[in-house]
Subunit: 157 residues, 2 copies
């Protein structure tokens, strides 16, 4: 299955015929080195802090390009703006704490299996997944058990 992975290939190949500009190289580098997910604005700021000369439009334009070339993934987390991260071989999901706002990554084989089932049962060919769980992390979780919780009648757990 790894026969066609090109994430590590040369810069030339990366951009598939497009021109290699300092902005593109830097942006992709920053995304790859970031350990989490970045917003367009965070990315822009980081680039400027490194002394690079580029504009926010360039950031957006290139994010779109990278996405099209499958170099990065775009996530629609529970926030107003998007987040981007380098496409990696290890697929993962996100836990979002509604209190402290942190985003925790986790892995689960469920997603992979779910995809298989969907392809078989519905003929839907899945190319990308976004799995987000919202809730409260161990630290922010309320201690006491609510008695009259109105919003949790999902066939119990």
């Amino acid at each position: 299955m790894d026969s066609n992975v090109s994430l590590e290939s040369s810069t030339k190949q990366r951009f598939a015929g497009r021109k290699i500009t300092s902005q593109r190289t830097l942006l992709l580098d920053l995304i790859r080195k970031a350990d989490g997910h970045l917003s367009a604005d965070e990315l822009y700021r980081q680039a400027r802090e490194m002394g690079a000369s580029l504009s926010l439009s360039t950031v957006y334009r290139n994010l779109r390009l990278f996405k099209k070339l499958n170099l990065i993934d775009e996530h629609h987390l529970a926030q107003e703006h998007h987040h981007y991260e380098a496409r990696s071989s290890t697929e993962h999901q996100h836990l979002i704490c509604l209190d402290c706002g942190q985003v925790i990554e986790f892995q689960s084989s469920f997603t992979k299996r779910m995809k298989q089932v969907i392809r078989r049962k519905m003929g839907f060919e899945i190319t990308g997944a976004e799995v987000h769980f919202m809730g409260y992390c161990a630290r922010c979780r309320p201690q006491e058990e609510q008695v009259n919780t109105p919003a949790r009648s999902y066939g119990h757990d």
Copy 2:
């Protein structure tokens, strides 16, 4: 028994002390009757078509309220705007076709199980989930097995 189906309770209870306005009643009705997910704008348009007098801000304000009261769920699909739908007892996930744009709902017990595992393993209390799979539906799926070809009109930029 805790199986209070609060979704069907009286209008008074619904808004938890807030005032009951014609706009609120209509909006919630429309959301409940819609079989899919609506955007704020679609909802606004539908309401206007029914002759109702309301503004887009009112739609947004009330969507926010309904969300807070757990009457509806907000989804961040792979689009620029949000989608809303009545909170229902049957939890479901979304398949989004990147070609024709349709959003298909499906159910899977995987999600429920994943949530259990996460709570046990990570102590993360999950209150809401968004599971989206992007890809190509049976109709739009290319016949040939081109998985890695970015395919289709890449035009430029």
